[in-house]
Amino acid sequence: MSGVSVQARVEQVYRQDSRRILATLIRLLGDFDLAEEALHEAFFVAVERWQRDGVPDNPRTWLVSTGRFKAIDVLRRRARFAASRPLLIAQAEALEHSDWSDDDVEDDRLRLIFTCCHPALAADAQVPLTLREVCDLTTEEIARAFLCAPATIAQRIVRAKAKIRDAKIPYQVPTFAELPERLDSVLRVIYLVFNEGYSASMGAELTREELTREAIRLGRLLMELLPEPEVLGLLALMLLHESRRKARTSSSGELILLDEQDRSLWDATMIAEGCALIERALGLDGFGPYCLQAAISAVHAEASTAAQTDWAQIVGLYDVLLAGVPSPVIELNRAVAISRRDGPLAGLTLIEAILARGDLQDYHLAHSARAEFCRQLGRVTDARAAYERALALTRQAPERRFIEGRIKGLE
């Protein structure tokens, strides 16, 4: 094989399999940093060795095995200088005699996800750690996506890895008894990644597509490995939201509300996949909030115009959702659905009750919904005050322009 095509093959294997190989190396070595070092050394050696001897039949197995030997070398090298020498030698020897088989590879990826989303890690570290280790985004890419300094992201990742090592957070898929709580944490991380991409919380752009793409990819991977109803539900929810991407913003980057979107721009393939998933999930035991939210999204997706939306069904789904997870944000969404079924006054009454008891005071969408109902009822002064409150709470440029447009429209 020529040098160019070997190089291309190595790159292809890296793109396709580097996270699987890393996950297995982390299990074998019990150390994130050592595993990363071993991974890179293995790929480095592959370029030269595959050129000379040809590409092995199973490149992945070859790379894990080479990475493992490289790690043994590293431990031996460290042992020459370190005070904790006997420990390192023992570690290197244990590794030399350990067995591993290729059958565990898929489990290794699942282990890696559960470890990166372990609730014992700081909440603000779980997302960057998952994006770094499972999705192979660089620290700089993660920092850009979350509008943080790369040093901040790097520090969170370093601290999380230190806690994994020092508190001995195990590298394993949780037992059945632990699963509900641990799975929640994984789903939450994936949904946070998605939301940050779908509705960027600050900055000039409305969405950051690479984050939603990674979140959907994680959702698919998790479903492949662990087809629990809520896993299906989350994937369906993400697909149904993502299907509206093209319709959500105008060519000049302005926000377009669900009602005013050109539904022919919705991605029919994603909608079909999302609806099929949600149908499957609702037939299983143990569906929860992600499934219900996806079901609500599916009702929207099935209406060919905004006017044809089955609001009564949506209100019913919000009722079930609210009974399971009481939350003021869900109450707000239910109030909006009720206003569509029963008129703006019904919605306004509900929102004012939420605000009166002190909830959602600083949530811009509560104030813009209130403004919208006031506008529809002809209460211009109240509508303006509520829009202005919403504007003061919004940091994202297109959303600010949207609210400013609404205020102008009142005059």
């Binding site: 005070a83 014992a120 001995k168 957070i169 394993q172």
Partner: protein
């Protein structure tokens, strides 16, 4: 690996809420951990009002009344356990009866790095 499970709770409420554990239940749980072979030590503590804090500064010992920090919840007891990893330690800690009214901080025990 050894983990220290520190049981914190508002000591005024520890024994007075409907879900508060009785001493018999605490004892039974400690015995079950003992039975599983993971127990190294466990004790309940007297009220924080009995606490005294000592510091050594410039060779002089200073003694102050009370805990090292005044907090809403106080250290009420501890378990020193031997667990395979953090997940196992969290399972033991989460089922300590007082975790229903307070909380349990789980800390890995550090091996002292002694050079010969």
């Amino acid at each position: 690996m050894k983990y220290l499970c520190l049981v914190y709770s508002n000591e005024k409420q520890l024994h007075s809420l409907p879900e508060s554990p009785r001493d018999e239940e605490c004892m039974a749980y400690a015995e079950s951990i003992q039975g599983s072979g993971r127990m190294l030590a466990a004790e309940a503590l007297e009220s924080v009002q009995t606490a005294t804090t000592v510091r050594m500064r410039n060779g002089k010992m200073s003694i102050t009344d009370g805990p090292f920090a005044e907090t809403k919840e106080q250290l009420a007891g501890f378990y020193l356990i031997d667990a395979k990893d953090l997940n196992e330690a969290l399972q033991v800690a989460g089922h300590i009866p007082a975790a229903r009214v307070g909380c349990v901080e789980v800390r890995p025990v550090r091996q002292l790095n002694l050079e010969r």
